[in-house]
Each structure stands twice: as C-alpha cells, then as structure tokens.
Amino acid sequence: MANREGIAAERLLVCVGPSPASADVIRAARSMAASLKAAWFAVYVEDPKMLRLPEAERNRAVYNLRLAEQLGAETITLRGRRIAEEIVNFARQRQITRIVTGKPTSSRWKSIFLESPVDELMRQSGGIDVYAITGEPAGQKEAPVLVQPRLMRLPGYEMALVYLILATGLAFLMYPYFDLPNLIMVYLLGVMATAIHCGQGPAILNSLLSVLAFDFLFVPPRWTFTVEEAKYIVTFAVMFLTAVVISYLATLIKRQAEAARLQERQTAAMYALSGELAGTRGVENVLQVSVKHFSEIFQCQAVALLPDEKGKLHVAAGDLAAVFQKDILKEMGVAQWAFDAGQIAGWGTQNIPDSPILYVPLQAVDAILGVLALRPRDPQSEYWLLPEQLRLRLLESLAKRVALAFEVERLQKTAMEAQVVVETERLRSSLLGSVTHDFQTPLAAIMGSASSLIDLQGRLDAMQAQEMLANIYDEAERLSRLINNLLDIAMLQGGSLKLHKELQPLEEVVGAALNRLEKRLADRPITTSLPADLPMVPLDAALAEHIFINLLENSLKYTPPGSPLTISAVRKDDEIEVEVADLGPGFPPEDLEKIFEMYYRGTEDIVQKGYGLGLSICRAIVQAHGGRIWAVNRTGGGAAIRFTFPLAVQGQQ
C-alpha cells in the first residue's frame, strides 16, 4: 500500500454479494476508505444467475447493499451477464483506484468447471488494484434473514396432477384421429400450463408424469411401461428435456413479468404520492396526505409521529389507537428507538422484528424529522409479500419524499413567521415615531400651563389662570383619546382581538356613544334616524361604540360649532348600512381612500391634527365584523362615512 503523494484521492469500490460474509467485506472496505479518506462505492451486479437464487439470498444481497449505503458508500446496482466485466467497466468509468472483494468461497466442483468471479476480476482489472479480504465481522450478532410471511400459494403439485389428467383426457379424445407425435404436443401443453400456473417444481413433476403416462397409455404396447420400439426412448428423452426447458423459460418469463409489474406499481405509487404532496400546503396537511397514501399503498393503518422540542414523539396525523392498539407504551418506545437511531425497525426488519408494527423514519437531508408507524391490515396482501428488497426500498423512498415535502413546508412556515416579525417591527417603529410626536404637543401644553400657574402665581389674573387650567384639562383629554386609540390599535393589530358579538339593537350602541360624548355634543343638533323595525345586529358593543365615537369626534373636529350631525341606518338585504354625516367642508376628493390609513393628514393645513388613527381604527373594527367602510362627499355639501354590518352570524365567534 504505497502512500500516494499529493492530493490525488483514492476511490474505492467494494463488490457486494449475497453471502453474509459480504457484509464483513463491506465494513472492512469502509474502514479502508475512512483511513484513506477516500470516496467509496458499493456495487452489486445482478446477473441472471442472481435472479435464480432463493429469495432469502437475494434479500441478503440487498441488505448488504443498504448496509453499505448506511455506512456512507454510494451504491449502484448493475445488470449484466458477466460480473467481473461489469465491475471492471464501471471501475474504469468512475476512476476507481482500488477494488475490494471477498475471498472466493465456491465449492470445489464449481471452481473446477468455472472460473470464480474473483479470479476473473483479478485477470481483467488491469491497472486497478484488487484486494481480496476476509473482512471485519460485525460487532453485534447478526440476526439471520428475517422470517418471511409464508406465501400462500395454490398447492402447485396438486395442480400439476390436474393438468396431467386434463392433458390425458384430451389425448384420449384425440387418439382415434391423430398420430402419436401429435399427442405428445398435448402433454407439452400440459407442462407449459403447469409451468406458467404453478412454477418450476410442479412443471418438472408434470413432465416426468407426462412421459410415464404417455408411455403407459399410448405407446404400444399400451397399458404397459415397456416399449416396443427403441425409438420411443429417444422420444421420451427429448420430450422430457423439452418439458424441462419450457418450464424453466415459462417460469423465468413469469418472474420477470411479475417483477416488472411490481416495479410499475411502485412507480405509480411514488408518482401519486409526489403529485399530491406537490400540491399540499401546510405541515399538517403533508402528514395527513402521507398517512393516507401509505395506508392505501401498503394496505395498513398508518400514523405519523413527530418529535416535540424535547425530542419525544407524539402523534401528528393518523389514528394512534388503530395502529398501536393496546401496546401504546411499548410501541412508542420502539418508535422512539427508530427515531433516535434513524433506522427502520419493527415487523419484517432486522431491528425488533417481533413488533407487529413497522417503523419508517422520515429522513430529510440532514435530520430525522419523525417516524411513520405502519400496521399491516393483512400481512398476506401484495405489498407485504414483495420481496424485502423491493418493499423496503419502496418504503424508504416514499418516506424520503414525505420527509422532503415536510421539510419544505416547515421551512416555508419559518420563513413566513420571520417575515411577519420583520413587518410587525417595522410597523411598530413607524407608529412609535408618529405617536411620540403626537404626545409631545399636549404634554407641552399641560406642562407649560401648569408651570405657569405654579411659577407665576401672583402675576396671573383670574381669567388667565382659568385659561391655563382649561388648557390643562383639554390637552389631558386629548392625550386620553390618543391613548385610547393606541390601545385599540394594539389590540386590533395584535390579532389577539376576540370579538364578542351579540345581537344588539343598533340604537343601543348609538345611544351609548352619544351619551359618552354628551358634553361635547351639547351645542350640536344631532339627528338620528334608525327605523324602528331595524333588526338586531351581531355586534361587539364596546367596539361598535368606538366606531361611532371616533366618527363623531372627527365630525366635531372638522365642522364649525353648532353644525348639525346625523346618524342614520337602513337595512339592505342581509346587512345594515349606517351613515354618520356632517355639513362640514367634506373630504378632499382624491383622499377618499387614503383617509383610512393610519396617520393620514389632510392636504390642507388644519389647526387641529389630521385624521390620525381614528378612521383606521374604525376600518379595522368594521372589517373585523365582516363589513365594509367608505367615505363619500355629500351632494349638498359635507362629509359622510358609510359602513356596513352583516346581519348573518358567520361561523363561530
């Protein structure tokens, strides 16, 4: 192992096979890669021979591959006829510098006839170093490949007999009309049917029995096993051979068709899930959709578990009781394990296989986001009978999709929340600026007046002193109104405002507002036209009162003393339209929309401050009730604010 100088990095490739020893080799390769700080790849070549291996061994190969992936390798599955050739080609493509493989373990008779793949590899590797190692045994005891749920198949061998009988029956029918060679075809048909329907074993049995039956029943001398002419022995041999080949091919095709079909189903499932997830917004919805798909695809009860701030799992979607049934505590423990370890666990896996529930961690890019727990409704249903390789891969890739969608939603939510915070801050600081300004004038007046009274005691005459006092009171009242408005704004903007809507007669609210402003309205003629049959309106009385108070105060500000004010209301379909109007100068026509914004100042230079917060509060309250508000200039002169309250109570309050 020469230490290479310079930054030229080593790249490792380890060959993954179906034996338990392969896992040891993988671990050794990982250690090697780590010490060389090299990138490493794990390659599994699926040649046609592999397809014929018993399922348990194929599963082990996939398990080994996944082990390599978990340990940090990039895993690739290649398909080809010659393992060594595929590996070497791949290695050359990816600039592999070392190939790691296990030592040949084939039995003696095999190695006489066939070159072991390792030898072939050595021969073809050219400039790439090949390491054949024993590998590192695992630290923990490796459980044997899990017990698969038993396939419930038709009794294949019995069917073989059935087909034999059918073929024989047909042959008997044809016997008077056809030569013997034609009858052989009938039996071959029987073999083929058995191969397609029942598999290879029964087909071979059928072939054997077909030969015997053919001999016994049709080849002269009939009803004996002896043969008159020697040529029939050749016939039998060829027939048997043909039958065997047909059965093998039929089985192969069937298996491939099966694999293709399942592959297609997988893809469809992934597509469906991805499609629906793409259109789903919101973290809870993503989980609901996922739970729904998983339970449909895998015919199971599913539940999604998410961690809280302390990392403890709790239910986020799905029906916990249906999945966990009686063993909630125990199963939550397993779920927690799967989450903490980031490994698939439970039924049908290596970890805690005696649990009836399967736990799939939701793995996003750099963190485990949660766990999906699945309880198969029928362990015999199609997806659970999938060979483990397909099933677990499907589960994991679906889970990954879910995790990614979830992550996206979560990040979006965080981004939106951050934005809201920024907006709120901005609004708050601009509001603070305006408010400070508005506070300063009344405060200046109050302090000035009061200090005059204190310092200039002897020198002010009675009228002046009285003026100072009146000043103090008026400005203090102004401050009070300002503070009230600010409190309203704070409540309304905070979103924590809960409207307590109750059906009220509108006149009660109007009456209360007029009552509160009694003193200041003393010199004004006020006309109220509220029809007696006006229905009761769902209102938050205190807030609705504010609307009237603000509007009346505005009118007071902008109209000369003694100018009349009117309040009227009329029912329009399913809402009430209210108007508060005066005979003052009206609004500047270009400002009819803008006056509802906070701190809007009129374009004229007005002695008293502009609309400030009053109208924007009115708008907020009206809108919170579900109504609309707008301003008009009256045709005869003067300003009017109109707003609506819906009559129907919508939903909960």
Binding site: A476, S480, N484, L487, E502, L503, Q504, P505, E507, E508, V509, V510, G511, A512, L514, N515, I526, T528, L530, A532, M536, A541, A542, A544, E545, I567
Partner: protein, 232 residues
C-alpha cells in the same frame, strides 16, 4: 346637600389620585379616610364604619374583588369601584360581587360627584321609609300600583317590562349588570336570557323614551350594564 355627615373611605395606592380625591371630596364637604392596600381597607372599613367606600381595583396586595366580597359579608356600605379603561370584565365582576357603581379612569370631578350623589341618595332613602313613587324628569313610576307615566301619559308595560323597570328604579342612578337584572327579574342567569334581556330593554326604551336613540332615562353602558339615569 350637606356632606358633613358622610365619611368616605378612599382605597387607592396611587398618591396623585388620592390627592385629587381628597381635594375634591373635602371641598364638597365629605370627611375622608385613606387606605393604601386591600388589607388596610378591610380593617378600616371594620373599625371606622364609613358611609361610602371608593375602591380602586388595581391594588398592590389583594384582588379588589376579595375586598368587596369580604366587606359584603358583613356590611351594605355602598362601594364605588375605580377601574382602568378596557377592564370591563373586572368592573362587571366587581359589580356582581356587590359593588354599587363604578368610575373609569381617567374621570372628572363631575363624574365622581354624580356617583357620590347617587350613593348618598340611596343611603338617605334607606334611612327613611320606602317611597313607593319614583320620579325623575318626566318619568313617574308607582311601584305599589304598578303604573308608569311619562309626561302625564300613562304607559302600559307588560309584567316583565315592569319588573325590569322596577329593578332599575330600585337601583336608580346606579349601574345594574346584566347578571343582576337577569337574576332579579327571571331568577337565574343564562346566556340565552341575555338576548331576551336586550330585547326587553329595547322595547322599554321605545315605550318610555322620546328618542330611543338618545335615551334620557334608560342608558346603556356597553360591556357593563344598564343605568336608569336620575335627574335631580
């Protein structure tokens, strides 16, 4: 109105407000006692037996509500609570617990005087024999004969309307909470009944007021309750 008989207990922890109250009340002839905490209030109410109690609900030590409940266990002294703006539920709880009326900060001397006058009137009345006929402005209510007159014209009220009016008359000038009204008229309190109550008040207003939208007698204090205004 001579205030020299009356002793007022002011429970207020903020000095500037106490100062103002002292000036205002003493100028009107009341004698004033001061307490700064709830505990003091209870103690002084017991030891000095004031005629009226002004109680600020924002006390540092115990909940004003507790003070009210405590005092009400052994005394009918009128209690006027002082509360901040926006704390309507606090006021209503205080009134339901036994307080007679309320003032909302900031308030003027005029409002204070109005409340004090109402309290005094009820105190004075309780010392005299009960007058069956109640009169304010143009409104005349004969509790014994169950008749109602407005400006010389008799108004016909349904039994419940009359009962409602009677409760308000008994508490004339003072605010009465929804709950109090419901209990005194219907005997129990439920949220559906609140709806009916509003309906009845609405009808009453239309029967008694010249302009129901600008009530002179039956005034609504949103969030708190109703008040039959008493014109001196």
């Amino acid at each position: 109105m001579s205030g020299s008989d009356w002793l007022v207990l002011v429970v207020e922890d903020e000095a500037p407000i106490r100062r103002f109250l002292k000036a205002a009340l003493e100028a009107q002839g009341f004698k004033m006692l001061e307490a700064f905490t709830g505990a003091q209030a209870i103690a002084m109410a017991a030891s000095h037996n004031p005629d009226i109690i002004l109680l600020d609900l924002g006390l540092p030590d115990i909940d004003g509500l507790q003070v009210i409940k405590n005092i009400r266990e052994w005394s009918h002294t009128p209690i006027i609570v002082i509360s901040a703006r926006g704390k309507d539920t606090e006021k209503v709880k205080g009134l339901d617990a036994g307080a007679d009326d309320y003032l909302t900060k900031p308030f003027s001397v005029e409002e204070l005087s109005a409340r004090m006058r109402v309290a005094i009137r009820h105190l004075a009345q309780s010392r005299k024999k009960d007058e069956p006929v109640f009169q304010t402005g143009e409104l005349q209510v004969d509790l014994a004969r169950r008749t109602v007159w407005v400006g010389g014209a008799e108004i016909h009220l349904t039994p419940i309307e009359f009962k409602l009016l009677a409760v308000l008359v008994r508490h004339s000038g003072k605010v009465v909470t929804q709950r109090q009204l419901l209990k005194e008229v219907w005997g129990y309190h439920s949220d559906e009944q609140a709806h009916y109550l509003r309906n009845y008040i609405h009808h009453l207003r239309h029967k008694l007021e010249a302009d129901p939208a600008r009530p002179v007698y039956l005034s609504t204090e949103p969030g708190v309750g109703y008040r039959l205004k008493y014109q001196e």
